[in-house]
Structures are given as structure tokens and as C-alpha cells.
């Protein structure tokens, strides 16, 4: 075969290969960034789910406690008000996931509710019948479980954000991220120890 033709063919093949390779890389990189971005949103969704678990147990708890705690109205009202504060947050999960200030708002409201519930459990101590009720036993275990779950899911949320951030910093992802408008994401950093709901000692 003619030498020139061969050279031309090889060059063409090379261009095509590099072209396919580059496109593939750009597509891969972009998709990776999008996936990580979405993972972070999903991870925050899990944090909200975990808090929702606790929230959903409260009506039953209140119903059971009401009958016994006729002289503890304040404690019950505190829980009801803290609950309202939580439901007042009407921002979408995705928006909160992207905004550390909204995260703080959300977490503070949940923390508040947690404290009110803890105080309720302290009061319940004075009423052995109530304390021994199925609802109460289950709730106390769920409260402890919620704290653990929150720690786990918040940790994973922060990890996915960190992974996203370090990915978009790397070359050539940084260029692609810039072109498509993906910026660094932040999460709300609580002060040391503020994350833990007050441990109630009986």
C-alpha cells in the first residue's frame, strides 16, 4: 500500500481515537460530578428522614403521656411548640442540602425538639406506670436510635460533600465543573459537642 495513504490513515485513526477518548472523558467527568452532587443531596435527604422517624413517633407518645401527665402541662406544651417549629420549616430538602445557613436552621429546630423530648422523658421518670408502658419503652429506644442515626447520616452527608469538593478541584474536572457551573459546596459545622442532645442521667 502507498506509504502516504498509510500515514494518512493512521493519523486519521489517531484523531478519531483521541477524539472519542476525549469526549468519553469529558462525558465521564461531567457525569461523575453530577452523580456526586446528587449523592450529596440524597445524603441530606437521609438526614431529614432520620429526624422524620422521631417526629412520627411523637403523636402516639403524646397521646399516651397526656393521660398520666395532667400536672405536667408545661412539659407537654414545650414539646408541642418545638414540634411546630420543625414543621414551620417549609424549605425543600434539596435547597437545605445546598445551604449551610438553612441546614443550621433545620438542625437547630430539631435540636430544640430533642431537648424538649429529653425533658419530657425526665418527667416521665416520676410516673412508673407510664415509664413501663410499651409506647414509652419503645420511644426511649427510638430516641437513642435516632441520635445514633443522625450521627451516622450527618457524617455521611459531610463525607459526600467533601468527596464532591475534592473531585471538582482535581484536573481536568475543575475545568469541566467550571464550564457547567458546579461550584464548591458547604455544610453547616456545628460547634464541638453541640451535636449531641443533652444526655439525660437517671
Amino acid at each position: 500500500m502507498n506509504k502516504l495513504v498509510v500515514i494518512l490513515l493512521v493519523s486519521l485513526a489517531a484523531l478519531v481515537i483521541v477524539g472519542i477518548g476525549s469526549c468519553s472523558m469529558i462525558v465521564g467527568s461531567y457525569n461523575n460530578i453530577v452523580t456526586l452532587d446528587e449523592s450529596a443531596n440524597k445524603a441530606w435527604g437521609k438526614v431529614e428522614n432520620v429526624y422524620q422517624r422521631r417526629f412520627d413517633l411523637i403523636p402516639n407518645l403524646m397521646e399516651t403521656a397526656k393521660g398520666y401527665l395532667t400536672f405536667e402541662k408545661e412539659t407537654l406544651i414545650a414539646v408541642t411548640e418545638a414540634r411546630k417549629q420543625v414543621t414551620d420549616i417549609k424549605v425543600s430538602s434539596e435547597e437545605i442540602a445546598k445551604n449551610p445557613m438553612l441546614q443550621k436552621q433545620f438542625l437547630d429546630a430539631q435540636q430544640n425538639l430533642g431537648s424538649a423530648l429529653s425533658r419530657l422523658l425526665v418527667v416521665v421518670e416520676k410516673y412508673p406506670d407510664l415509664k413501663a408502658s410499651q409506647v414509652m419503652i419503645q420511644f426511649m429506644d427510638e430516641q437513642a436510635g435516632t441520635e445514633n442515626r443522625v450521627a451516622v447520616e450527618r457524617g455521611r452527608f459531610q463525607d459526600t460533600i467533601n468527596e464532591y469538593n475534592s473531585t471538582i478541584r482535581r484536573f481536568p474536572n475543575n475545568i469541566i465543573a467550571g464550564v457547567f457551573g458546579f461550584g464548591k459546596r458547604e455544610y453547616y459545622k456545628a460547634e464541638q459537642g453541640a451535636e449531641k442532645a443533652p444526655k439525660v442521667k437517671f
Binding site: 498509510v6 489517531a14 468519553s24 419503652i137 419503645q138 429506644d141 437513642a144 451516622v152
Partner: protein
């Protein structure tokens, strides 16, 4: 001259593929280990006692029960007994072991870990995402209070664990059934490969290059359909080279498919890729 050009093209393909593959990331499930990997035991058995609290016979009995249970239901339950937490937080350590070993099947998240730390006399039942419905924290707490703690207080560790597992199994009953799903997946891939091999082999009867090209095209299309462009290109290349020798592979393909189908069961124990969300119950005795 033609041969050199061909080789050059092959090398360029490889070089570009390596760059692409270097950029693909694997998906992770859960936070990276906070601890030195040495401290998180990589479990090779379902019952791991680092403290000789259980006799070998007791360990074997529990191991057998859990292995049988996994075969029937695909739920993975593991027991770990450590001498001390060495200052670690119980829940964090338990999560690290459970998540690190990925107990439970991927997608089902049906794993469970019972961790005992002898020095601190602490225990935890760590429940995978998928079992949280049938084993809510409240129920785990009851199992802890009724089966584990009373027996542990009397030093009856085997009895406590055995009874506890029975109660856990009872609670999960019916949640997941083994539908042979795992085996079917492997056999499926084996058959797919076999069919591909036959098609490529037939075409290579005409000429090796023809078989190779057809093989490459089919592999490329399959890759594109089920995965991504990058995978498709890789499969295409692999398909090309395997296609070249497909004429020679012949009956070996049948054996390969058969082996792949068998490898789902037996052998050593390892986690199935399941995830944990922090549910369960902690306690002490």
C-alpha cells in the same frame, strides 16, 4: 507496514483507555473508616471470638446456625466478641465493623452485627437498613433486655447469643426469602458469554479477523446498552482479542459458564455489600 500501523493503533487505543479508566470513580457506601484498618477486623467467619469466651464447640454451633440461616434467607448475621473497645465509642466501632465488612446483600441491606466488648461489658445490636422495618430499635432493645443481658450477667454467653439470635430470626421471619437470585445472576453472565463466544466462533470460521470484528461489535453494543461508552470501548477491545481466539476456545466455554454458575455458594464467608444506617440497640451487662 500494515502490521506496524495496526500495532500503533492498538497501542493508542490502550493508552486512551487507561486515561479514561483512571478517571472513573467507584461508588462508595458509607463513610470511610475512621480507624486504622488493622483495628477493624476483616471477618472471615460469621462468629469471631477474640476472647475465648465461647468454646470452639459453641462457636461452631453458632456459626452453623448462622450459615444455614444465610443460605435460606440471604440475611447475614455476624457476631464479634472483642476483649476491649480501647477507648473507642461502641456505636462507632460497631458501625465500622458492620459497614466495613458490608454485611448483608447489596441492595437488600439485610445484615446484622452483634458486638460484645468484654472489658467494658458493653454490647450492641447493629441493624442494616433493610432490616430496620422488622427490627426497630424498640424490638432490639427488648431482645437485648430479655435475652442478652440477663444471660450475660450470669456468664451464660452462648445461651444469651443463641436465644438472642433465635428471637432475631423470629422477628425477621418472612421479610426476605432467598430466591436463588444470586445464583441466577452468575449463571446469566455465564450464558451471555457463552452465546457471544458461539457467535464469534462461527464468524471466525470464515476468517479469524471476521470473528474478531463481529465479537468486538457485539461486545461494544452490549457495553453501550448496559453500561457506558467507556465500558463499551473496553469491552469492544477485549471482544476483538478474545474473538481472535474464539475458534480455539471451543468447549472450554461450557466449563467456564458452569464454574461461574457454581461459585455463588459455599467456601469462605464475606460480606455481600450491604449498608447500615445506625439502627439497633446498645446496652451493657
Amino acid at each position: 507496514m500494515k502490521k506496524k500501523a495496526f500495532t500503533l493503533i492498538k497501542l493508542m487505543f490502550l493508552a486512551v483507555m487507561m486515561v479514561i479508566l483512571a478517571n472513573t470513580s467507584s461508588d462508595s457506601y458509607g463513610s470511610p473508616d475512621k480507624f486504622d484498618s488493622k483495628e477493624i477486623p476483616k471477618l472471615t467467619r460469621r462468629v469471631t471470638d477474640y476472647t475465648n469466651t465461647l468454646s470452639q464447640d459453641q462457636v461452631n454451633k453458632l456459626e452453623g446456625k448462622l450459615e444455614q440461616y444465610e443460605k435460606q434467607t440471604s440475611n447475614q448475621i455476624a457476631i464479634v466478641i472483642v476483649p476491649s473497645l480501647n477507648g473507642k465509642v461502641l456505636e462507632e466501632y460497631s458501625m465500622a465493623i458492620a459497614q466495613g465488612n458490608k454485611l448483608g446483600q447489596k441492595g437488600k441491606d439485610n445484615g446484622l452485627l452483634i458486638l460484645l466488648s468484654m472489658k467494658e461489658r458493653k454490647l450492641r445490636i447493629e441493624v442494616g437498613y433493610g432490616l430496620e422495618g422488622v427490627l426497630p430499635d424498640g424490638l432490639c432493645g427488648r431482645i437485648r433486655d430479655n435475652e442478652l443481658v440477663p444471660n450475660f450477667k450470669e456468664g451464660k454467653f452462648y445461651k444469651g447469643l443463641d436465644n438472642g439470635i433465635d428471637k432475631i430470626i423470629l422477628a425477621i421471619k418472612g421479610e426476605y426469602k432467598s430466591d436463588g437470585e444470586i445464583k441466577i445472576k452468575y449463571i446469566g453472565y455465564g450464558v451471555l458469554f457463552l452465546i457471544w463466544l458461539i457467535i464469534s466462533g462461527l464468524f471466525s470460521l470464515i476468517h479469524r479477523a471476521v470473528g474478531a470484528t463481529v465479537g468486538a461489535i457485539i461486545a461494544f453494543i452490549v457495553g453501550l446498552l448496559f453500561w457506558s461508552l467507556a465500558v463499551a470501548i473496553v469491552l469492544g477491545i477485549i471482544g476483538f482479542f478474545v474473538g481472535l481466539i474464539s475458534r480455539d476456545i471451543g468447549s472450554f466455554a461450557g466449563d467456564i459458564a458452569g464454574t461461574i454458575g457454581d461459585s455463588g455458594t459455599g467456601g469462605g464467608f464475606s460480606g455481600g455489600g450491604g449498608g447500615f444506617g445506625g439502627g439497633g440497640a446498645s446496652g451493657s451487662w
